[in-house]
Point group: D2
Chain length 285, copies 4
């Protein structure tokens, strides 16, 4: 389980021979490829690839990889990213009052299912302070008032910066982030929305689902962009409901969806299994 690997993510304009060039490069430096996934988006003419390389025997490492790799990367005009599995990603969690997503993430983290460091949890309410602290994590209470919205966000940004956070999870945070915040964490803020988007974007989706009389409810995890609930979708799940279900039943059933859909997105992100291409995700799972 603790096999040391590197995850290499690549996007570039599609052309012949990329796979051969990339896998040839790895072989040339004695790397063993454990997983190779690729996808071509024909509309965008974009080639996307993920490689997982065993570190044992690989002649490249954090120090010398880039210098060797850059020629190839330039030749194919690649956007690329490599993650070395001995580096643990740092995840901040933002919450409001609802505890289910936070409790679920913390359980997965404590039992080792989710391999991250969690330097901090912050909330605009104090409701989940105890939940955070009983897991041994610092909780920051950053209340929002009618007048302090942007000051509160600055405070939050400072906290994240100082904690050298890699990505941010909105575990039912319920607040809209400013464009500058979003720009600071491109494709690195994960939100859970409690509906099968694009249906019922915005507030109170379960109430709207109840009013509409749908026979299925859902949940959606996505990267946050500046358009509300419209960022690249990472994972979705649905379950049946019927006329006997009240709004409270939808909320209760939906919690089970939300937990699984959010933790799936977080797991995929920590494993570098997601690439974004034009507001859509390619998930190599």
């Amino acid at each position: 389980m603790a096999q040391k690997t590197a995850q290499l993510l690549i996007s570039c304009p599609d052309t012949r021979g990329i796979i051969a060039a990339v896998t040839g490069f790895v072989a040339q430096h004695n790397g063993n490829i454990l997983e190779a996934d690729q996808h071509t988006d024909p509309q965008q003419g974009e080639f996307l690839m993920r490689l997982e390389v065993e570190l044992d025997g690989f002649q490249l490492n954090q120090e010398n990889f880039e210098s060797k790799w850059s020629t190839l990367a330039k030749q194919y005009d690649m956007r690329w990213h490599i993650h070395w599995s001995n580096v643990t990603k740092r995840m901040a969690i933002l919450v409001s009052k609802e505890s289910h997503c936070l409790s679920d993430l913390l359980w997965r983290w404590k039992t080792g299912e989710l391999h991250v460091d969690i330097p901090l949890i912050a909330g605009n309410h104090e409701s989940l302070k105890e939940t955070a602290q009983s897991a041994g994590i610092t909780f920051h209470h950053l209340p929002i008032t009618p007048t302090n919205k942007s000051a509160q966000e600055s405070q939050l940004r400072d906290l994240l910066d100082r904690a050298s956070v890699d990505f941010v999870v909105l575990a039912r945070y319920m607040q809209i982030l400013s464009p500058s915040f979003v720009a600071a964490y491109p494709e690195r803020i994960i939100n859970i929305h409690h509906s099968f988007l694009p249906a019922f974007a915005g507030p109170k989706p379960y109430h709207h689902a109840f009013e509409r009389g749908v026979k299925i409810i859902g949940a959606t995890s996505h990267y946050v962009t500046n358009e509300l609930d419209a960022g690249p979708i990472i994972a979705q799940s649905t379950m049946p409901v019927d006329h006997r279900d009240t709004v409270d039943d939808l909320i209760r059933k939906g919690r089970d969806l939300e937990k699984v859909v959010l933790s799936t997105a977080v797991r995929l992100h920590t494993q570098d299994k997601i690439l974004v291409c034009k507001n859509k995700t390619v998930v190599f799972d």
Copy 2:
């Protein structure tokens, strides 16, 4: 399987003692209740009930039921409907060019899974004429031109009237019906929409789903009202998709959903298992 029964559907303002009154009435006339389902919509204060009564031994029949029942029905201010299982419902099917829903309904009908009479199939294109005729059903070609829309609909209404049709199935008919047509068949026109409504209402839902990058597609059957794709939902189903799926893949996968979701709605309708309460369905399945 051919057990003779009557299906009694009731809606009325909620109050104490309705179930006792109704089931007492059946017992008093020596009826054996095979199934009894009820639901109270607390928001509307509406009581809804479905009874299935064995005809063997029941002292009431098509001739004398109403006269005996009307006192009770008036006392509780009921909207009600009774269907005697020896009467077969008459279903018309409207189509355009897509064959999958029509072929599926016809297969279920030929094998006895769907217990209806089908006096006619009509289409604005001639593409499915042979499919209809090879099942032994008259096909009416009623083309639509930029100028004949309302004349075409009149013709269609005449056909349905003359055929004494009980309900109409839009098996991917793709045409919007006028308010007067809809009013002539209240809660008796069933449509299949190829998305998980309310997402992607209107034309080309699979294209929109592809553009949005959803990870789940769906299909929805509903009663037609004057608002496009906004009538009471009867059944929905979903299935996962991923980045490898092209629009054509979504269309192909979606067909399997559409067939099941439409035929489910038709089966429920023929078995009088659906009640409508304020643009929502109560499905007693």
Copy 3:
């Protein structure tokens, strides 16, 4: 949400007029029926019913119900049970080393989703002591050795007796209970098995599922009987897997199924929504 109600469960040989008699009895004592569900098992000739009656206005209560009701109950030869919602059921949880089901049940209990009292948690290992205690619940460590199996069970039975436990949840307890233990809690011991029974009964189901190369895994909650993993099934759920999933992946994915399937069964049991008829359940949800 805190509406006071009584749940009445009835099984008896099927005959005409039972629903009318029962609902007439409730109406006669001014009871308002909130929900009425019934089912007839034609193979067994058994009639099964669940009524939920509003206590507000109902002229019967815990003191006088049985004396009024017994005439009817005898007349129809009923097995029956009534639960008054102001009485909270007492649930014991037995565990071994796996924490996910216990943590999940405790979260649902702490947040009020699961309405029970939990007088005790017992385990044959000490691994989950802290989890129990941090929720404020007494943990009993009852280790099992090659020679003390029956003495350990006696101790456990004493604990449950003294705590006046209504039902027992095996949250991955992994031990087989003796026939006398099972007989003491008929239809009141709920187990979670980590496969879609009857496939992969017995130990290590995920390993067997992996070996067999199934494309779907599942979980099953059921009442415990003397035959291993063969009692009446209450709830099941499944999810897709593929060739990329290792045994560890199956175990990880399966945990999410197990939590939902077990907590569903526990919720249904606490709400008196389950009737057993010949090793099968009738679930009125």
Copy 4:
């Protein structure tokens, strides 16, 4: 949609550099790789790969591929297979009395969803003769009597041989094939079993599912081997059922699962997306 491609399937002992070698070979002959999927089975130490290469520009073809490729294939000790998309696979369908799977396959074939030639349909009953013939396909009636079992199978084998059939679909054929028949079509006989295997292998699975009181039913498509219902599983699907469902309801609901699960397996097989490794499938979809 009619893009010309070749599908190359490879299995060999896992070692370093295979991907680079294979994709390098394709690049060297100016091939454009449209899809590349690989999987390593760590238990078997087996490397499995599927490549889809665009024929436009590729310097190899049906005539010269093998001579160029064989050096590499020998070096890595590969089992391999290439399919050129301009060659249409030839599929025989065996049936008994149930029509749903056959009708479904024929509909998919007629509409172009399933890209195969169907030289013949054979049945041990005559029930589906008309279905076959109305699709323009020759139907062979090969009845089975208590004494002719092996003679009937010889006749069937002759028919398949003369028709140069590539693979055989058992569309609810319900007969056990002899080991010599199975050996003649290794990993090329696809069966649909109407349960979620390994539960309810053998006859009458819906009856057994009903007796057991499961809450979920399923269907399984698999390659036929000499052990009944125990071959490599290709696809499975499940759906919920409840106490209201009779055996006939399970059979009806199950038909919708069977159609989708069988046609999925057939589609995957025709697209060369399935590799078998030790009685398990690797499905590159």
